[in-house]
């Protein structure tokens, strides 16, 4: 039976996080420590492989070094094999949940936004991850870049409905 009070089409936007947390069981504050540790390892790799270097990004976009292509390429291959194995053998998470994957839908934003990010990437020499590692490495000026990136994200959220997507 349909209720007469049924709400009409809900216009509220559903929250779609692009890097979502799909864990069902709730986590205590302390369990966040493991993400801190993974982050620390990640930050060390960024600096030690000189991925945070503006020069390495310049070499990449001038096709003068294989380094960054090797880093990204081998990361993708390892990631791909891992995802394949997790799916194939239905490997569960530590708390026994099924791992969730999210298909991405094509949107024009991936083109416009992708190009815009690319322009910024070559200028700043950093994608969002290295930004944090550069600040940790003592490049104080990059704090401004990070704040501006946050402002950029906010501005996108503000104008989202008016942009082609």
């Amino acid at each position: 039976m349909k209720s007469t009070f049924e709400t009409p089409i809900v216009e509220k936007e559903e929250f779609v996080c692009e890097a979502p947390n799909d864990m069902k069981t709730s986590e205590s504050g302390l369990s966040n420590l493991k993400y801190l540790i993974v982050g620390i390892m990640f930050g060390i790799v960024f600096v030690k492989a000189e991925i945070i270097s503006w020069f390495r990004i310049q070499e990449m976009f001038r096709l003068q070094s294989f380094h960054m292509y090797g880093v990204i390429g081998s990361a993708v291959v390892v990631g791909m094999i891992s995802v394949f194995l997790i799916k194939k053998f239905n490997i569960k998470t530590l708390s026994g949940e099924t791992v969730e994957f999210h298909p991405k839908k094509f949107q024009k934003g991936q083109i416009y936004g992708g190009l815009l990010f690319g322009l910024g990437w070559a200028i700043t020499g950093a994608c969002p991850g290295p930004l944090f590692a550069q600040i940790g490495s003592g490049f104080v000026a990059v704090i401004v870049t990070l704040l501006s990136a946050i402002a950029g994200t906010w501005t996108y959220g503000y104008f989202k409905e008016k942009l082609p997507n």
Partner: protein, 190 residues
Amino acid sequence: MELLEFIKQPWPWYVAGPLIGLTVPTLLLIGNKSFGISSSLRHICAACMPADIPFFKYNWRKEIWNLVFVLGVLIGGFIATNFLANPNTIVINPQTIKDLSALGIKDFNGLMPSDIFATENIFSLKGLIFFVIGGFMVGFGTRWAGGCTSGHAIMGISNLQVPSVIATCCFMVGGFASTHLLLPLIFKLF
């Protein structure tokens, strides 16, 4: 001690790349989390200044792991730079040095040229372009694209997502255009 000396050398791509790739299954298996870094910027907006914008009205507390993760990246950068730093000067392709010298870069000693990234440059035209405008493009662009190098190029392609391949190609096209068309114009200003 020899191990430490070994670690202090710059790590080759075939060590760093697979380690970065392993972040994908690590996050999935320790907590069912999809890898992506630019989302942290959105969570900061949602936590600090949602301003009633629908895009920032969600339970960011559930995504706090992502903020903890990027805090870790920052700490990792501190540790690597202060305790594991390479004692030698960075090795850069001579052709890159030649090209960048022609643009006006003089400092090739560190990971970042002080000609651009010196703290004194924050309140200058250089700072406006390289930090403020560049950073804005990174933040606006990644969210519009729905991810950055980690979320699209690594996590997305690992999961065989065509939109992520498209996005990654656009990142690269933008980067090439910026390097070869924009940077020569920008450096004419200084």
